[in-house]
């Protein structure tokens, strides 16, 4: 039903659902990524190609198929006893912080 040739052929397909500049800007906003004006057309092109590529999934018949969220079927998430296992290491951890004062992480003013 499927073959790799089909997947390879997508390489040469013209994206049918090209993303607009506005859509790229909107995705970047959702992802909290600042893009330069020159980056936008690059992502317009490559994301459109990627969406076209993953669009191959549409052809698969998945009626009544359960989505697989975990590679080991049947494995359930463990619970552990609700005990304190970590001690206070904030000084060590804050050595990696860009900006701290008095043991607190500093960010720009949030509330006017």
């Amino acid at each position: 039903m499927y073959d790799f040739g089909l997947v390879f052929s997508v390489l040469h397909a013209i994206p049918t659902m090209a993303l607009t500049r506005e859509q790229i800007a909107s995705i970047a906003t959702l992802a909290r990524l600042d893009l330069t004006p020159s980056e936008i057309p690059v992502y317009q092109d490559s994301l459109s190609r990627i969406l076209e590529f993953i669009g191959a999934l549409e052809r698969a018949d998945t009626a009544d198929v359960t989505p697989m969220a975990h590679p080991l079927p049947g494995l359930t998430q463990r619970l552990r006893p609700d005990l304190v296992t970590e001690t206070d290491h904030h000084e060590l951890y804050q050595q990696n912080a860009p900006l701290t004062a008095a043991g607190l992480y500093l960010v720009p003013k949030v509330i006017e």
Partner: protein, 487 residues
């Protein structure tokens, strides 16, 4: 014993115990090779020379007193995705250029506990996203077989280091082929265990339902030795599996006569280089000569594994990488106007082009209105692919085919088109989607470059996968080839 670097990890561990050389000698020789190779290969992001030599002196004392563990005094290197207390962990990114982890990853701690000595941290594609090691903030890694070519990725530094004999063993991670593909392109052995077999604690997350740590070594026997020490249950990884670790080394010698090998028809398609195919077909004949039974099998949904992967992996990546916000650790932009500007510019500056591409792809497929069409659909097709594998393993013990469609390609050849790059992993991604153990071993040369043979087994069949690879390596000498200039 001269030229210690040309020996396998297993031989070196044995030689140390027999006191044929010291750990200080061994570590010194490898550190000198790393330093000399660095301008040519760029396989390392950080080298921990003083700490390694100090650990070697301690190892020699332990060996002298008879208190040695399995890997006491053996030098190894870690992919720079594993957190190492006291040595920076960058994940190949500007975002973590100055990050020093406050703790060791479980893999690092276990190997240290077994006596291994860390020489340094290897270069990689940023956040393990890439198949050529061209996406590193610290520059590309070059293939020891030909410096104009890529080593593969994302564990490209680990693969190049082992191929050039800068270390006898390295850790790596494999989300869609990131151990097996560079191992194939560099002519070494790369082992990805079953999902959940090796702890992900302290291994920087890319796609949590796919990521799995493993080994890059010269031989399958070395992989068995390293994996035996790395694997096991870890309560700090919620997907770690609580089943005992077999002695993979002891299991290596089990005969493969009667082994049922399935050959995937889907893998021998027009994308496969003719010389790669020739090497793989000859390797199958070698295994048949050892008594294995080869039959053709079909996994009809497998060709959809790359599109499934490029929904699932970016989706999980966009979620995992949300933690890099410029507040608690990682890169922060200068003079943020407000909190949103802090997030957006820190992330825009800290992440490279491919990481941003995947975050945006993931954000899109998870966004309102598209979740069902892309993400849920991909998870359904993932179920079909998994069912194909389970069905195949009803009638065969292992599946064998090529690791990659082609040998190593030139630096810059595929950087313009992400999809062409993504298709490098067309044969390896299936094992990640289904969580299966898989190994790549050298099986010949095409265009004077190494070719990899991939062996995939059912869940938790590492011993059989390693044993099959070991039997192949007892019958062939491809794994002993060392690139010119590094012998």
């Amino acid at each position: 014993m001269s030229a210690l670097h040309s020996h396998t990890l297993t031989q070196l561990a044995d030689g140390l115990r027999r006191k044929r050389f010291s750990s200080v000698e061994l570590v010194g020789e490898f550190l000198a090779r790393i330093e000399k190779s660095q301008p040519r290969l760029n396989a390392f992001i950080s080298v921990a020379a003083p700490a390694a030599l100090e650990a070697a002196r301690a190892a020699d004392r332990a060996l002298a007193s008879g208190a040695a563990a399995a890997l006491t005094g053996v030098p190894i290197v870690h992919k720079d995705i594993f957190c190492t207390a006291g040595v920076r962990t960058t994940c190949g990114s500007r975002m973590l250029e100055n990050f020093v982890a406050p703790y060791d990853a479980t893999v690092v701690a276990k190997l240290k506990g077994a006596g291994a000595i860390t020489l340094g941290k290897t270069n990689m594609d940023e956040f393990a996203m890439g198949s050529s090691n061209e996406n590193s903030y610290f520059g590309p890694v070059r293939n020891p077989w030909n410096p104009q070519l890529v080593p593969g990725g994302s564990s490209g530094g680990s693969a190049a280091a082992v191929a050039a004999r800068l270390a006898p063993g390295a850790t790596g991670t494999d989300t869609g082929g990131s151990i097996r593909q560079p191992a194939a392109l560099c002519g070494i052995t790369g082992m990805k265990p079953t999902y959940g077999r090796v702890s992900r604690y302290g291994m920087i997350a890319f796609a949590s339902s796919l990521d799995q740590g493993g080994t890059l070594t010269a031989t399958a026997a070395d992989a068995a030795l390293m994996l035996r020490e790395m694997a096991g249950f870890d309560p700090r990884d919620s997907t770690s599996v609580d089943t005992p670790v077999p002695d993979y080394v002891a299991a290596l010698e089990e005969p493969i006569a009667g082994l049922r090998i399935g050959v995937l028809g889907e893998f021998f398609d027009k994308g496969l280089d003719a010389d790669n195919e020739r090497c793989v077909r000859e390797a199958l004949k070698v295994l048949e000569g050892l008594g294995a039974k080869v039959r053709q099998v079909s996994l009809p949904n497998l060709p959809l594994s790359v599109p499934v992967y490029y929904v699932v992996a970016p989706a999980e990546c966009s979620s995992n990488l949300a933690r890099y916000d410029g507040v608690r650790f990682g890169h922060r932009c200068e003079n943020p106007r407000d909190l949103n500007d802090l997030y957006r510019r820190s992330r825009g500056e800290g992440f490279g082009a491919e990481v941003k591409r995947r975050i945006m792809t993931g954000t899109y497929v998870l966004s309102a209105g598209y979740y069902d069409a892309y993400y849920l659909k991909a998870q359904r097709v993932r179920s079909l692919i998994n069912a194909d594998f389970i069905r195949a393993f009803d009638s065969v013990d292992v599946l064998i085919g090529p690791t990659t469609p082609t040998p190593a390609f030139p630096i810059g050849a595929k950087t313009d088109d992400p999809i062409t790059m993504y298709l490098n992993d067309i044969y390896t991604i299936g094992a990640n989607l289904a969580g299966l153990p898989a190994i790549s071993v050298p099986c010949g040369f095409a265009h004077e470059l190494p070719v990899g043979l991939q062996i995939v087994g059912p869940h938790f069949s590492e011993a059989r996968v390693l044993g099959t690879a070991h039997a192949f390596q007892r019958a062939t000498d491809w794994h002993t080839r060392i690139p010119v200039g590094y012998a």
